[in-house]
């Protein structure tokens, strides 16, 4: 055990830090849940990609940098620490990207990964259906094989930013009459294909953050299937594991708001200390975010020694989603009467950072598999309790 960085790691960190200092937009980009904001984020992604920072842990041939996971953690620390823009294409890059790297054919990798790294292709997930939320295996959207194509019919929902995206990926029932986890195939679908209709869903904050996707005899070539016919569940589970696990929510994603929370506390110490539970909560946020970071480095160490991530990824997801709630609730408590203000007003730039974060944190225990489902998974798969 040696918890210090190598000279190479240190110089990688400095290099990233300098590039970000020179390139991160001075003004916060508008939300990527609007079309304009989405395209500005795409531009930023292209810039990142040109500098080789889009997907640092992918192989160079696919637009990455060939870094290991420690470098990735370092990159994330610098990225969040610099207050750089949210990663608009991460559902594709992190979830589908990891899946393609593991299960994709050489042709698929060559076709999809470079354009994903550069965000020339923007990706949306198509997992959920109206009757397949927590019960993810209850999928009814169909993909019938017809020669060298699948014909897709059905409906997906909660597809983040699908109205702006170029492609979607998800599971479809490809074996007639199959049930639950069986007979599903993992397909990639261009969203401009004939028969695709996308309807936005207005989120809590009024933005079109999600969408429903309707498939009406949509033709998708067999080459757009990842993994074997009917074996999509296996492929998807690997992807879901990535999502819950380390990749989607790197520790820096929480350490940065904690750093700002501590600053908010320090700036308002006289007032905040009148209720000592505030300071206690701030210290707990720091300690939890630090623990999550330690856990990530520890996991990376074990992965590098050949271990696999199992149901721990479910514990991770519960942990960071609850931490995120605590961070933002504590900030709201410190802000007091001005916490409810939207950014549009006279007082509210700092407030809006926290309010937006507070709203988004509310979704954390729900998306990527509800925390109730995660706890079931831990109990059943890690502890061996009966279903």
């Amino acid at each position: 055990m040696k918890l210090t960085y190598t000279p190479e790691q240190q110089s990688f960190r400095l290099e990233v830090r300098e590039w970000l200092a020179a390139n991160v937009p001075k003004e916060k980009l508008p939300t990527y849940d609007t079309k304009a904001g989405f395209e500005l984020h795409r531009e930023w992604e292209r810039k990142l990609h040109q500098a080789g920072y889009s997907m640092v842990m992918w192989p160079k041939e696919y637009g990455g940098r060939g870094c290991d996971l420690i470098d990735w953690l370092i990159f994330e620390e610098e990225y969040y620490g610099a207050g750089a823009p949210g990663r608009v294409n991460q559902n594709g890059q992190l979830l589908l990207g990891s899946t393609l790297l593991e299960f994709g054919t050489p042709a698929q990798k060559a076709q999809f990964l470079p354009r994903m790294a550069s965000s020339d292709d923007m990706w949306a997930q198509a997992w959920s259906e109206p009757n397949a939320g927590s019960d993810m295996a209850n999928i009814s959207s169909k993909a019938l094989l017809d020669g060298d194509h699948y014909i897709l019919n059905g409906q997906k929902t909660w597809s983040t930013r699908a109205i702006y995206a170029d492609w979607a990926f998800g599971l479809f029932r490809s074996e007639v009459g199959s049930k639950r986890h069986h007979g599903l195939s993992f397909l990639m679908v261009p969203l401009d294909a004939e028969g695709v209709t996308i309807r936005p869903i207005k989120a809590l904050d009024g933005e079109d953050a999600f969408a429903e996707i309707f498939f009406d005899n949509v033709k998708v070539p067999v080459e757009h299937r990842i993994g074997d016919e009917g074996k999509g569940w296996h492929v998807a589970m690997a992807t879901a594991g990535f999502e819950r696990g380390l990749l989607l929510r790197s520790p820096a994603r929480f350490q940065q708001p904690v750093r700002k929370l501590v600053q908010l506390y320090r700036d308002n110490k006289a007032s905040a200390d009148r209720d000592p539970s505030i300071g206690v909560a701030v210290a707990k946020c720091w300690s939890d975010a630090e623990a999550y970071a330690l856990s990530a480095y520890n996991t990376v160490g074990r992965l590098n020694s050949g271990a696999k991530i199992g149901a721990e990824s479910s514990l991770n997801k519960v942990f960071w989603s609850e931490l995120d709630l605590l961070i933002h609730q504590t900030a709201m408590n410190i802000l007091g009467a001005t916490g409810e203000l939207l950014a549009s007003g006279s007082l509210a730039q700092e407030q809006a950072y926290w309010l937006n974060g507070f709203l988004f944190a509310q979704a954390g225990p729900i998306y990527a598999g509800s925390n109730e489902i995660q706890r079931n998974i831990v109990a059943e798969r890690m502890l061996g309790l009966p279903r």
């Binding site: 209850n138 809590l204 007091g336 009467a337 001005t338 203000l341």
Partner: protein, 353 residues
């Protein structure tokens, strides 16, 4: 010792509840949320017709002569139906403030009568917040300047309006000049008025939060009975049951705390400050858990604009730190327990410090 409401109080609550159920259905709230001002004058008028604006007004002035105890029921109804109106600030907190003024204050009775008739819109600026709610529509503002109470016509202020996460709320930064002619109370009397006004405002918020909590619980129970996953209603899963049972627990325990605080305020109990803050803390906790678990049970649906839950969640988040923020109210209770030498024997529950 009688910890119950009168028949009159309960019947009035029931009548208001039935009225708001039809007059302020969620579709109506959505309409109001879309307006520029976030408020609906017709709704205020119709609430006045029901007698709500007359609740606090002395019978001598044509009102119903009820007090904080009755309002602890009514504010729950305003919360439950998510009423997008400053009615409580006007007809409860504002009426209380006017009533506390000396009889020599010019126009005092006229204002009370206008409140009673539902004709006055006012806004109150207390130093507990840099923001004044509903200043954009107020005819007059009651503004704090140290111990002084100023009654300021809208024309005499400048305001910058802010939007809230609750689309019906407008919060203004108000700039104004205290002048002798607008001062209607000062010194000890003014300080006492502001002190009591803050307590009344906090109790109004507490009641609304409790009503909101109950509404969010009811919506979540309904949803959990209808929504199916894994082949059965999600309400049959133990995790969902326990989430909702915990919300019910927070609501039930908050009720007597709210009612006691109202009784203390109405009767000038020496520990009113502590009781009001305690009530606000319990109601706040109930609303926060109802929002959190309500959203959790609604899943992604709860995170949409379309499903009603969002309106009640946002209201609860928005008003939670008004009329004294969480820090203020927690600190008042903590100070009493930790830094006073109060005798906390079991026999002291209803006694003064």
């Amino acid at each position: 010792m009688d910890f119950t409401f009168t028949e009159d109080q309960l019947m009035f609550r029931e009548a208001i509840s039935r009225f708001l159920m039809t007059e302020a259905a969620p579709e109506k709230l959505r309409e109001i949320w879309e307006t520029a001002e976030g408020r609906c004058p017709e709704l205020r008028s119709s609430m006045a017709t029901q007698g709500l604006t007359a609740l606090s007004i002395p019978e001598a002035d044509g009102g119903l002569g009820m007090g904080d105890i009755a309002w602890s029921l009514m504010t729950q109804e305003l919360g439950y139906y998510g009423i997008p109106d400053s009615l409580a600030d006007t007809a409860y907190v504002g009426a209380g403030l006017f009533s506390a003024l000396g009889d020599d204050v010019a126009g005092k009775n006229d204002y009370l009568t206008k409140i009673c008739d539902g004709e006055l819109r006012l806004a109150i600026g207390h130093q507990c917040s840099p923001l004044v709610a509903d200043a954009h529509l107020a005819e007059v503002l009651l503004l704090q300047h140290g111990d002084e109470v100023h009654l300021v016509p809208r024309d005499n202020i400048d305001e910058v309006v802010n939007q809230s996460i609750d689309s019906s709320r407008r919060l203004s930064q108000v700039t104004w000049q205290p002048k002798p002619e607008t001062c209607i109370a000062s010194g000890e009397a003014g300080a006492k008025i502001w002190h009591e006004t803050l307590n009344r405002g906090a109790l109004s918020v507490a009641g609304q939060l409790l009503g909101l909590a109950q509404r969010m619980l009811d919506l979540s129970v309904d949803y959990s009975v209808q929504r199916k996953q894994f082949g059965k209603a999600i309400g049959s899963f133990q995790a969902v049951k326990h989430h909702l049972a915990d919300v019910a627990g927070k609501i039930e325990i908050a009720k007597p705390v709210l009612y006691r605080a109202a009784c203390s305020l109405e009767n000038n109990h020496p520990l009113t400050d502590v009781h009001v803050s305690q009530a606000r803390n319990f109601c706040s906790e109930a609303a926060a858990l109802a929002a959190r678990h309500g959203l959790q049970i609604h899943g992604a649906m709860g995170y949409t604009w379309e499903v009603d839950l969002q309106m009640f969640m946002k209201r609860s988040w928005a008003i939670n730190n008004t009329w004294g923020d969480s820090i203020f109210h927690q600190a008042r209770v903590q100070d009493y327990v930790l830094n006073s030498d109060a005798d906390l024997a079991p026999s002291k529950t209803f006694e003064g410090a």
